[in-house]
């Protein structure tokens, strides 16, 4: 069962029923401040593209402004005997890109070095480091679309068929409807570890759900659904798990205490740097 939902259907039913009793109300609360941290989101994939690293900083919780961008940093990507200096985008501050497109290679470790940054504003520059080894992952076989109708919602469930290798693996899934990336925010990512499938053929793993009630997701005959499979490392898997738990919020029935999202950026940095291969497979909804 993929983690695009935190809980199985039975638990979701209970939560829905709980909702009948519970009431919500907006409130004003005062929160403390803390020093600014550097926030990194950087990826290297097996697609031939200019790979990107975005640098921002944290802010007060109720700052209610876009995250401050970090310009003028020295961002370097090191792999094998190569060292690439990323260039800051001309018009998008804080977005750094490799000078040219290239494909990331599985089993290669990518090292990210960031310097000439004063994220905490104390007048002294800090340096940050992260690394990620691109996994090999499994060979994606096919997907199947199955219509599902419940009293609460209906739509097409996307099932994945693939052979999982004997090593421990983690996956994230993105879904396109035609050319529209539906899983376009962190909360919509679907992820899965192979704890229950390790080394086995995976018969129909549910990796996404396209709801009839959402016009953007609702499928019509002839629509093409594309599954993008990313074989991710444990750091990125943990980052998404933690982030989704925090986005979902606190429910005393099932949640543990709130906690920071894990990061592989050192020096108290936040965010993630990761390298993963990309595979895609499509299916067309028949008449």
């Amino acid at each position: 069962m993929a983690r695009n939902n935190k809980y199985p259907k039975g638990v979701l039913l209970v939560l829905a029923l709980m909702g009948f009793a519970a009431c919500t109300e907006l409130i004003d609360i005062e929160l403390d401040s803390t020093f600014q941290r550097l926030v990194v989101f950087g990826t290297v994939t097996s697609d031939s593209v200019r790979h990107q690293v975005q640098l921002t900083t944290s802010s007060d919780y109720f700052s209610n402004r876009p995250s401050p961008k970090v310009s003028g940093a020295l961002v370097e990507l090191e792999y094998g005997n190569n060292l690439v200096i990323l260039e800051e985008h001309d018009t998008i501050p804080g977005l750094y890109r490799t000078p040219a497109a290239f494909r990331g290679e599985p089993q290669t470790t990518y090292h990210l070095h960031i310097s000439q940054v004063d994220a905490d504003g104390d007048g002294a520059d800090e340096s940050y480091y992260a690394e990620s080894t691109m996994p090999s992952g499994l060979k994606l076989d096919s997907i199947r679309l199955t219509y599902f109708k419940s009293p609460f919602f209906s739509g097409y469930q996307v099932f994945m068929y693939a052979l999982d290798p004997p090593t421990r693996e983690w996956y994230s899934f993105k879904i396109w409807k035609n050319s529209d990336l539906l899983t376009d925010t962190l909360s919509k990512y679907s992820i899965q570890s192979d704890d229950f499938y390790n080394g086995s053929y995976i018969y129909g793993l549910p990796v996404g759900f396209l709801m009839d009630e959402d016009p953007r997701e609702a499928l019509m005959p002839g629509d093409t659904v594309t599954l993008e499979l990313n074989s991710i490392d444990l750091d990125y898997y943990n980052f998404i798990v933690d982030a989704q738990l925090e986005i979902m919020g606190n429910n005393p029935l099932f949640s543990g205490p709130a906690a920071n999202v894990r990061s592989n950026i050192d020096n108290q940095g936040k965010g993630i740097f990761t390298a993963y291969p990309v595979q895609r497979v499509s299916a067309i909804l028949s008449e």
Partner: protein
């Protein structure tokens, strides 16, 4: 080999006790029972006026006193019953079975009762509270459902872990550190409907006793408390029925003799019916749901002869949340067989066979495509042998042994696609054998001093088949070991000394102190504060050492106004080692590497408890106040900085009272106040891929606003008519009478239109909730 040696030694001790019974004494013994129903009364006082000494009945209503020959006046008393005097001329052993009638609250009867009403002063144990079910029934309850657990939560030192929850913390312990026994069978999850109701149907319950840390040596396996709940035996005088029709559920209990007074039965059932009204809902998503729980209690007992009694009792309860596409089912099942045997009038014994089972099952219906099913269960098979030896009024000794085999199936998942291809996976079972042997005594030293002392020796074996992972310093699996089926592969054992002293300053004042050590080998993988049915219990193992607590307590107890007011102040300090918490964002469900999610450290709790209980013909109730601090010190959590437990409430106050306005109209109210629970809130934020993520600086740094609530009820009893057995009453109750919006949780919402905007949103569970219940008996 070691075990058989212990068992031989144990039985040698038993036989020697029988052999060395003192000469020259005569024995008065028997059972104390309710006159109307024949129910044995637990903890009834038996006092010998001439020498000012006595005893109390055990959990089966039995007492035994060895005395010099002579003439004595025995007074039998029990809370809520008319005391009875019995003059006896003792020149040989006699059996006196006494039946006490319920008090009608007339003045002279209360005066008689008060003769031995200072049991709280004379009792040695600290931190224990016995609640008669009649007192529990007076307390206004959520949706009118009288609830044992909710009553317990109003006592000092006991804190509810989350609003509406059946979970409770005793003196800083987590909710899995409470041993809840129903007729000696462990109840692993006492919750119905996500904890809003407990599994205990009050019509089937006779007696409730809570031990806060100073647990008798006969019990073990939990650090914080023992909640000992006894079911009724069933009326052996006549057939009777009790029931009620409430806002959310109905109940019916049938009891009566089986052919003769020597045997009786009890059958009790309760079912909620919220789902009966669901078809009336406009929303089809709501209409097609099943949502209910039920309980069945049954008991059969038979007095074989004067020396032998047998009891057979069981419980089955289940929650159902289901519709056509998914369902979730969970519940408990217990079975207890007990045999009371009198080896002699001084040596009482009880042998128990017990089975407990807790399960949950969720997924899609069979045949649904795609199919998904997740099951988990925990089962205990146990044996206990307990002996009570009454050599003299000054001394009572208890000893015994127990053995429990635990079978834990943490999770098994099956998923099938539309072609019938299945993905199946099963977490490794946990099997364990938990044994205990104990000896304890209670002795009176002169007129002023009494002490209770006990020593329990517990052993815990992990049993194969099992795969045990080895972890490195960062909790990654580096190796695994497979143990064959039936292989005993890991042993923990240790002594658990317990001692309590009572210094009676006079008949109205006493000072008590106690020390107790408890060991816990089974714990629950849960980091939620409210009760969830998805419990996973896991045992001590090569990776997890048993939790150990050492508790020191002392208290001053005072009675006044002829024992109508009982008051006490108790102080406690508890140190817990190998205390378990979970890493941030721990993955506890269906995790084969669950042990890698644990973080181990110490915990400390201390506090003061004030308890004032009053009982007059018109007014009764109690005031309970607790000041407490609970700190966890776990090096790998919160950067090693000690942090408060999630259920810590430094100030916790409960005012409970009931007032008989007239013979037929009773009023009752509770007011509850507590400091808000610790909460983790962000001090900053950052954004990744369009989502705002919180930035925290510490665990449980904030607190929710203070909690308070008023519940009220009115009970109107129907007119009694001579010769008519039917009795009834209407109960009108209001939960949260002034509609306080007590915050259950706080979440942060990202604005849909402007994703840079966030709001804080509180969730509260209950506004004002009225309820009506009609109760009857005949």
């Amino acid at each position: 080999m070691l075990r058989s040696r212990y068992i031989s030694l144990f039985f040698s001790v038993c036989i020697s006790f029988i052999a060395i019974e003192s000469f020259g004494k005569v024995i008065v013994s028997g059972y104390v029972q309710d006159a109307a129903t024949g129910e044995e009364l637990i903890g009834a006082n038996v006092t010998i006026l001439e020498i000012g000494k006595g005893t109390i009945t055990n959990t089966y209503g039995y007492y035994s006193l060895s005395l010099d020959p002579g003439s004595y006046t025995l007074v039998y008393s029990y809370i809520g019953y008319v005391a009875q005097r019995q003059s006896v001329n003792l020149d040989s052993d006699i059996v006196l079975n006494i039946e006490l009638g319920e008090s009608l609250q007339e003045l002279e009867e209360v005066t008689i009762t008060a003769e031995a009403g200072n049991a709280n002063i004379t009792r040695v144990e600290t931190g224990s509270v016995q609640l008669p079910i009649q007192s529990i029934r007076k307390i206004p309850a959520l949706l009118g459902e009288v609830d044992v657990i909710k009553a317990i939560q109003l006592l000092p030192g006991v804190q509810v872990t989350s609003e509406g929850s059946s979970g409770f913390s005793v003196r800083g312990g987590s909710h899995d550190q409470n041993l809840i026994l129903l007729d000696e069978a462990t109840i692993y999850n006492a919750s119905h409907l996500m904890g809003f109701f407990s599994v205990f149907n009050n019509d089937a319950i006779k007696d409730v006793k809570l031990y806060k840390g100073d647990i008798p040596a006969s019990s073990g396996g939990r650090l914080a408390s023992l909640l000992d709940i006894r079911m009724k035996n069933g009326n052996n005088k006549r057939f009777s029925a009790t029931g009620g029709i409430g806002t959310i559920s109905s109940r019916l209990t049938l009891e009566g003799p089986v052919f003769t007074e020597k045997a009786s039965f009890l059958l009790s059932a309760r079912r909620t019916y919220a789902d009966i009204f669901l078809p009336l809902a406009k929303d089809t998503a709501v209409r097609d749901n099943s949502l209910f729980f039920f309980d069945l209690n049954g008991k059969l007992n038979y007095m074989v002869n004067d020396k032998n009694r047998i009891y057979l009792s069981g419980y089955y309860g289940k929650d159902v949340f289901a519709n056509d596409f998914a369902g979730m089912y969970f519940g408990n099942r217990t079975f207890t067989f007990r045999w009371n045997h009198l080896f002699s009038k001084k040596l009482f014994s009880n042998f128990t066979l017990v089975n407990s089972h807790y399960f949950y099952d969720l997924g899609t219906p069979e045949g649904e495509i795609p199919f998904f099913n997740w099951i988990s269960f925990l089962e205990d098979y146990g044996f206990k042998g307990d002996f009570i030896w009454y050599p003299s009024p000054e001394h009572t000794f208890r000893y015994g042994l127990s053995s429990f085999y635990h079978v834990i199936k943490p999770g098994s998942v099956t998923a099938r696609d539309q072609d019938g291809n299945a993905n199946e996976s099963e977490l490794s079972n946990n099997l364990a054998l938990e044994n205990g042997i104990y000896f304890s005594g209670e002795s009176k030293i002169g007129d002023r001093f009494a002490m209770r002392y006990g020593l329990r020796y517990s052993m815990f074996h992990n049993v194969g088949d099992a795969t045990v992972f080895s972890y490195n310093d960062v909790y990654e699996v580096v190796d695994s070991t497979f143990y064959e089926k039936g292989e005993f592969y890991n042993l923990y054992h240790g002594l658990e000394p317990r001692i309590a002293l009572n210094c009676m300053l006079n008949e109205r004042n006493s000072i008590k102190a106690s020390y107790s050590r408890n060991r816990q080998y089974l714990q629950m993988a849960s980091n939620s504060t409210a009760g969830t049915p998805l419990d996973i219990w896991f045992p001590a193992s090569p990776n997890i050492e048993p939790q150990i607590s050492d508790q020191l307590a002392m208290g001053y107890f005072r009675n006044s106004l002829d024992n109508r007011i009982e008051s006490s102040v108790e102080l406690y300090y508890k140190k817990m080692t190998n205390s378990i918490d979970f890493r941030d964002h721990a993955q506890l469900l269906l995790n084969p590497r669950l042990e890698g999610e644990l973080r181990i450290g110490d915990a400390t709790s201390y506090g003061a408890e004030l308890f004032i209980k009053y009982e007059t013909p018109q007014l009764s109730g109690w005031i309970s106040y607790t000041y407490s601090k609970i700190t966890r010190d776990i090096p790998e959590i919160n950067n090693g900085i000690p942090y408060p437990a999630p259920y810590e409430k430094p100030h916790d106050l409960a005012l409970v009272f009931s007032y008989n306005l007239t013979d037929r109209i009773g009023l009752a109210a509770n007011w509850i106040y507590s400091t808000g629970i610790p909460f983790t809130l962000p001090s900053g934020r950052y954004e990744v891929l369009g989502s705002i993520l919180p930035l925290y600086t510490g665990r449980n740094e904030y607190r929710l606003p203070d909690y308070h609530r008023l519940d009220v009820s009115v009970t109107i009893t129907g007119k009694e008519k001579p010769g008519r057995r039917w009795q009834s009453e209407w109960n009108f109750s209001v939960y949260n009478a002034y509609a306080r919006k007590n915050i259950w949780t706080i979440n942060f919402i990202q604005d849909n239109d402007n994703p840079d905007l966030t709001y804080a949103e509180m969730t509260y569970l209950f506004s004002i909730i009225p309820a009506i219940t009609y109760n009857f008996k005949f």
